[in-house]
């Protein structure tokens, strides 16, 4: 299975070659979509982790053992459908094609599994209907 997650690293783990270990020891496919170190939060990695369920579980256990926080993207970007007027301004900006509109109702559909948490939608939304947790 594939898991898109935001990994939060305490600064003390900065020396640990996490991605190397996930690939080498757990044989996971790691696709890094974004990586940054923030002074007030430590390190943050937006990744796709892919592999057999058992290997994925072991890899996640390894990460938790290091004190790494694991949260699915769906919990870091939220869309308020009541606030949204479905203008569509965000749709053509979305690099992951997580946002779509069309027949029959032309309401905005948000697929968190495709979201790369870039935040373009949140900045572009005229009604400020997106919330991001970073």
């Amino acid at each position: 299975m594939r898991l898109r997650s935001i990994l939060d690293f305490p600064l003390v783990t900065a020396d640990e070659p996490v991605v190397y270990v996930l690939v080498k020891r757990f044989d996971l496919i790691v696709n890094i979509l974004r990586a940054q170190i923030l002074p007030d939060r430590g390190g943050e990695l937006l990744v796709d982790l892919e592999g057999p369920d058992s290997a994925l579980e072991e890899g996640l256990a390894y990460l938790r053992g290091l004190g790494v926080g694991i949260s699915p993207v769906s919990r870091t970007v939220t869309h308020d459908a009541d606030r949204c007027v479905a203008c569509g301004g965000c749709v053509s900006l979305c690099p992951g094609k997580a946002l779509a509109m069309g027949e029959p109702d032309w309401l905005l559909r948000f697929d968190p599994d495709r979201c790369v948490a870039c935040g373009l939608c949140a900045k572009a939304c005229p009604t400020r209907s997106f919330r991001t947790l970073w």
Partner: protein, 395 residues
């Protein structure tokens, strides 16, 4: 014999509950198989609608007099500047006015908050005159405490609008939304075959005094909108391929709903207002039947490159292609999306249709037709400006 109807005849049917009312989308589908003559015979009214950000919007407010009297010269609502250069306690809050230092809150929000019935902080100052000795006031108002508050929008319901792209290397933040560099996306802004002035492109039935749906309330067309341009190039289906006519509209904000009126923020551009407008078009004859059955693929518009100083025109597309989500330009496929909400526009067209069928909304004939042959002027270059008069006029 060709069918002709009058607005009075259609209103009689509305009152009798027998008028046939369709949305412009429904009649466009009907037009795929039915002839204009058949449509004219079967349909009485077609409802059109749009819900998009319209910067040229605002509201006049009369705050009521204070004790002692105050001539309000500098006015703010929730710290957003309100124009006070009219009578003592009249003001105009424009949609794009912003709270100094806070680009996330402006006139659009003030108008939405007022429509929602929320209290707003009013602060005003005046110099003090013999008739208005007061100097300042700091209080709270709602739409129920003020005497009048009416939306008066100088330019709404644009008849067509260009598609925006950006060929430059950097992302641009515009009133057409975020435009990614190197033609990364495209942005358009009308409701196509549902859009009011594309369904009556010669404004045969829309003029001064036309009753409309304005943000949930009954409103009126008050004047030709600013930048009213009726000389644009038209395609073989009779619609302009560039921004054409516009409408100035007026209506009571106390009766409006935030479902059809919303503040808008455009990153690094400013604040605007989503305005929902619905206009009923009486199907008086075959010509109008043909007009209202226009389809997205027949409505073309021009693509402009906001990445060049002159916003160069790059080509033409139509609304069927835009709705499909991709624009083809120089062999490249560019993802595109709208700035105006089709789902809200449909809701407005349906709601207006319900009101007409219920006999609660009748049609009004314009009391003045709008001009033809108009075009746009540019602001004079300083070198070419008319001879300068001394500041302050003839002193």
């Amino acid at each position: 014999m060709p069918i002709t109807k009058t607005i009075e005849e259609i209103n009689a049917r509305i009152r009798a509950g027998s008028a046939v009312v369709l949305t412009a989308e429904e009649v466009a589908r009907m037009g795929e198989t039915a002839s204009p003559a058949e449509i004219a015979a079967r349909v009485d009214v077609v409802t059109t609608a749009t819900f998009g950000p319209m910067c040229s919007s605002g509201a006049f407010i009369n705050f009521g007099h204070t004790t002692p009297g105050l001539r309000m010269e500098e006015i703010t609502l929730n710290d957003v500047p309100v124009y006070g250069g009219v009578a003592a306690v009249d003001g105009y809050i424009g949609a794009t006015s912003v709270r100094p230092g806070d680009p996330e809150y402006g006139g659009g929000h003030v108008i939405e908050d007022l429509a929602a019935g929320r209290p707003l902080r009013l602060r005003a100052r005046g110099r003090g005159t013999d008739c208005y000795p007061g100097r300042e006031v700091d209080t709270w108002i709602t739409k129920d405490t003020v005497n009048e508050i009416f939306l008066f929008n100088p330019r709404n319901a644009y008849q067509n609008y260009g598609v925006a792209v950006n060929s430059s290397a950097r992302t641009l933040h515009t009133y057409m939304g975020t435009l990614l560099g190197r033609l990364g996306n495209a942005s358009y802004a009308t409701s196509g075959e549902l859009s009011p002035l594309l369904n009556d492109p010669d404004l045969r039935t829309i003029g001064l005094g036309t009753r409309i749906f304005l943000c949930g309330a009954e409103g009126y067309v008050a004047w030709p909108g600013t930048q009213f341009h009726t000389s644009r190039e038209r395609n073989e289906h009779g619609v302009p391929v560039l921004p054409g006519a516009t409408l100035a509209v007026v209506g009571d904000l106390k009766e409006m709903s935030t479902e059809y009126l919303r503040a808008a923020v455009f990153e690094k551009y400013g604040v605007s207002l989503f305005v929902g407008i619905g206009i009923p078009i009486p199907v008086l004859d075959e010509d109008l039947a043909r007009r209202v059955s226009i389809r997205n693929e027949q409505i073309e518009t021009t693509v402009f490159d906001y990445g060049t100083p002159g916003h160069d025109a790059l080509g033409r597309t139509n609304y069927a292609r835009l709705r499909a989500g991709e624009l083809e330009l120089d062999g490249r496929r560019i993802p595109c999306s709208a700035q105006s909400s089709l789902s809200r526009a449909r809701r407005i067209a349906e709601e207006l249709g319900r009101r007409i069928r219920a006999g609660a909304f009748t049609l009004s004939a314009p009391v003045m037709a709008f001009p033809t042959g108009t075009s746009l002027r540019r602001c004079p270059d300083p070198a070419a400006a008319p001879a300068a008069a001394p500041l302050g006029g003839a002193k």
